[in-house]
Amino acid sequence: MSLLEVRDLCVWVQTEGKDRQVLRDVVLSVAPGEALGLVGESGAGKSMTARAVGRMLPTGASATGDILFDGASVLAMTGRDLRAFRRRGTSFVAQNPLSAINPVHTIGDYLTEPLVVIAGMRHKAASEAAVAALAEVGIMDGLRVLGQYPHELSGGMLQRVMICSSLLSGSRLIVADEPTASLDVTTQSQVMAILDELRRERSLSLLFISHDLELAAAICDRISVMYAGEIVECQNARGLQAEPRHPYTRALFAARPTIDGASHRLPAIPGRAIAAHEAGAGCSFANRCPYVAPQCNTEHPLLTETDGGQVRCLRAAEIAALPLPMRCPP
């Protein structure tokens, strides 16, 4: 059974007095110990999905569908249950750690407060646990760091502190929303290595949100691709790289730069990414798709099972037979 299961999640948010749909029938599942990558462009609905999982939708938002955590419906939770789920079920690693930590308290306060308040530990024991956990994320002088304020630490250090905090919470699911977006590449790889290693060691589940397809493919078991508020494809990471089935995924892979040293002009996907509420009756990718057929503009494709994954494309079977788009035209 999956630890986290999102079924047909639709979310509307209020903007300028109008309800606008931002998520359309999102389907996800994360098994215990599994890492699921959720990739897509800005505005595709990745972060909104993460917020829905933590029941942190903006005010005025409404949701249908279901989010099951360990069999219990997160959307239906109230009061005590919701708090228990947030305390021990999931933990979030935010995109910008500096803004996600209260600036007036020390790192020690940040790390030990949940232990003292939620787990009922004594301050001294909590500090010791924090120092031990900091050592696990590669911060060896934990005692000194505990006395420091967030602004005194670098972005990479802070992100490790955040990961450390998720470890301390004992959550079974870590939701990491672009955890390395504000870090430079070297720090990024260190932080990702730490996150990946600790997750495997403790067989935690991870919902990893990123716009970096390669990064997601490197650390996740399976990857779901989002476009315009819906999941367009889901496959295991290796399969997705070898055989992307949805035209959008294929185009994304074609648009990556290579590391073979040669620099070519990268093929771009024509047009712009549309928002979920702009999507018409047909396929949301139809206006940018190189394989578009007449029925694509009228018929909305369903997320259909294929071998080892799901894809939302009317012509998936035909397209799979075509060669991949040229990555680097000569």
Partner: protein, 287 residues
């Protein structure tokens, strides 16, 4: 050795704050310290008993015995001014403290809960804004009798809405920051987040506002004393000294009203400058 080093460090930090705050802030802090010491050490500082009547030397001119002269009952002015610092500072302190406490509580609660609770409470508070504080104080004196307590309670209630409004907007801004979301998602309770996380972040604003309220309360309490409804004679109080001094002014002995009024003005200005310095510091602190 290390304590010495840290002391040097804290000294240099204090001087750095002082330099950044500018000389008006330093002067005002010094004045406030003087006035506070005056009130606290009144029994030792006052040269004479402030309530000792000496009908033989009414409206005496400044002399070696009475540095600022005497009032209409022959009481030593210096002693009365020094003792007067007590009630004159205690009243505003209570008003500012109570208004800050109530106001912050309302502000945090409304900013945290939002929704209908916020709408209802905020409209109630706004309605209270329309009620003049001085009138409320006079009503409260009529109900509870003269003295320090009735006007203090009334003014605290009257000032609370001003405090709550400004603090609420700051709390709302703070509440929308990611770290509050992060705390919620860790499963922290609302009360804890509001008190331990949001409040410290808006504390500079709370302090600056309290200082400003202190100055307002001082003027208003002086006015209430002047009207004869505040602190009752023979207790020394700057506001009532100004009032009692009126008859002296008419007879050509303005010293009592002038000195007491002057102390009120100087203290209020000092508090205002101090408040502005805190507010400025907190504004600079927010990038």
């Amino acid at each position: 050795m290390s304590t010495f080093a840290t002391r040097i460090q804290s000294l240099s930090r204090a001087s750095r704050y002082a330099r950044r705050a500018g000389w008006p802030a330093i002067v005002s802090v010094c004045i406030l310290l003087l006035v506070v010491i005056m009130g606290l050490a009144a029994p030792w500082l006052a040269p004479q008993n402030p309530n000792e009547v000496d009908l033989g030397s009414i409206y005496a001119s400044p002399s070696r015995q009475h540095w600022l002269g005497t009032d209409g009952l022959g009481r030593d002015l210096v002693s009365r001014l020094i003792w007067g610092a007590r009630t004159s500072l205690l009243g505003p302190l209570l008003v500012a403290g109570a208004a800050a406490f109530l106001g912050s509580a309302v502000a945090l609660a409304t900013a945290w809960r939002r929704g209908r609770f916020d709408t209802v409470t905020t409209s109630l508070v706004d309605t209270m804004l329309g009620f003049p504080g001085l009138l409320l104080a006079i009503l409260s004196v009529a109900l509870f009798g003269k003295g320090l307590l009735a006007p203090v309670v009334a003014l605290a209630i009257a000032y609370m809405p001003y405090f709550a409004r400004v603090t609420r907007s700051a709390a709302l801004r703070e509440r929308s920051l990611p770290y509050v979301t992060a705390l919620t998602i860790q499963g922290m309770g609302g009360l804890r987040i509001a008190l331990r996380h949001i409040l410290p972040n808006i504390l500079p604003l709370v302090l600056a506002q309290s200082a400003m309220l202190f100055a307002y309360a001082m003027v208003d309490l002086a006015a209430i004393s002047f009207l004869g409804m505040g602190v009752q004679p023979p207790t020394a109080d700057w506001g009532s000294m100004v009032a009692v001094g009126q008859s002296g002014v008419l007879q050509g002995h303005p010293m009592q009203s002038l000195t007491a009024g002057g102390l009120i003005v100087v203290t209020v200005v000092a508090v205002n400058i101090f408040a502005e310095a805190i507010a400025g510091r907190s504004a600079r602190g927010q990038h």
